[in-house]
Symmetry: C2
Subunit: 158 residues, 2 copies
DNA sequence: CTGTATTTTGAGAATCAGAATCAATATCAA
DNA sequence: TTGATATTGATTCTGATTCTCAAAATACAG
């Protein structure tokens, strides 16, 4: 999804933010934005390899990190820290708030939302005299259908 | 809480696990267990400083990490990764499963449980063809009562 | 268009939590 | 007590991420 779709809006968003903050629109930033919008979620390292492969231009890993963090500030991305130690950058531009279901076997990540759960969370917070800013809900388990699990693992998307 | 209370049961639990796995009950392991049971949650570094202060014995940081992980295997502790990058070891021996409510202002951590939320989680997982192993739910926000928030911050417990 | 001030880049060094190494030491079971 | 085995602590290593800084790119005033 989002193969040839126009990036006008996204680039405009980035450009706007940059201008507003007296920052510069560089080729690297555009390349990274473009690649990032193409995926659902990705690590800095993965994105680095992805871009290096199509060596359209030299690109430092530090730049990837810097730009990914920039995109998070703009609101296009969001950092996630699942069980491991590396940061996953989630492309949330076209998504509503959502929680995650993670397969321990094949690392599949499913996004879901549950207004019912959110409601209960608010209730819980109120009971303890808290005002909520945000939350994190991650469900860990495994796919019931082991074959699908394996198939997904093999899919190019990984 | 749990000041002079006997550690018989806990030491027995540890001893049992060690024997079963042909491991050894060392002074360090006992010291760490004892210190760990005294707190609700703590980082390896904090526990290290805590024990070094009462320099009853020399103790390497590596040993703290190793033993803390051992306690997690036994089930006395559980790792938590809140927003930061360091691991918090949660003493769960006398606790049921619980989730966390975290104040962004004063770092207060409140533990709670909600069977209703758990039920909805199971339902959600089933809907996506998943069997759940465990989950993580963290609510971030701030105490409504800023004064209490500050007071808690100052309390010796921190 | 051009010069210049300013920001960004890339390569590698720095960090930082945590894990691995390994010789010296402690534990345990006979 | 002994000897096999596990553990310790000091240190080094690792891997992800950030920092540094000279060189390059960009924006913008003229």
């Amino acid at each position: 999804m989002l193969k040839g779709s126009s990036l006008y809006k996204e680039v405009a968003l980035l450009k706007n933010y940059l201008t507003k903050n007296r920052l510069k629109l560089t080729q690297q930033r555009e390349t990274i934005l473009e690649a990032f919008l193409r995926v659902d979620h990705i690590t800095a390292e993965e994105l680095y390899r992805e871009i290096s492969k199509k060596k359209r231009q030299r690109m430092g890993l530090a730049t990837i990190y810097r730009t990914l963090n920039l995109l998070c500030e703009i609101g296009i991305g969001q950092q996630r820290h699942f069980d491991e130690n590396r940061t996953i950058f989630d492309n949330v531009l076209h998504k509503k708030h959502h929680d995650h279901l993670i397969c321990n076997k094949c690392d599949k990540i499913i996004e879901f939302e549950s207004p019912a759960i959110e409601r209960l969370q608010e209730e819980m917070a109120a009971r303890h005299g808290f005002t909520l800013n945000n939350h994190r809900l991650e469900l860990y388990g495994h796919c019931l259908d082991w074959k699908k699990c394996r198939d997904w693992q093999k899919s190019a998307d990984r």
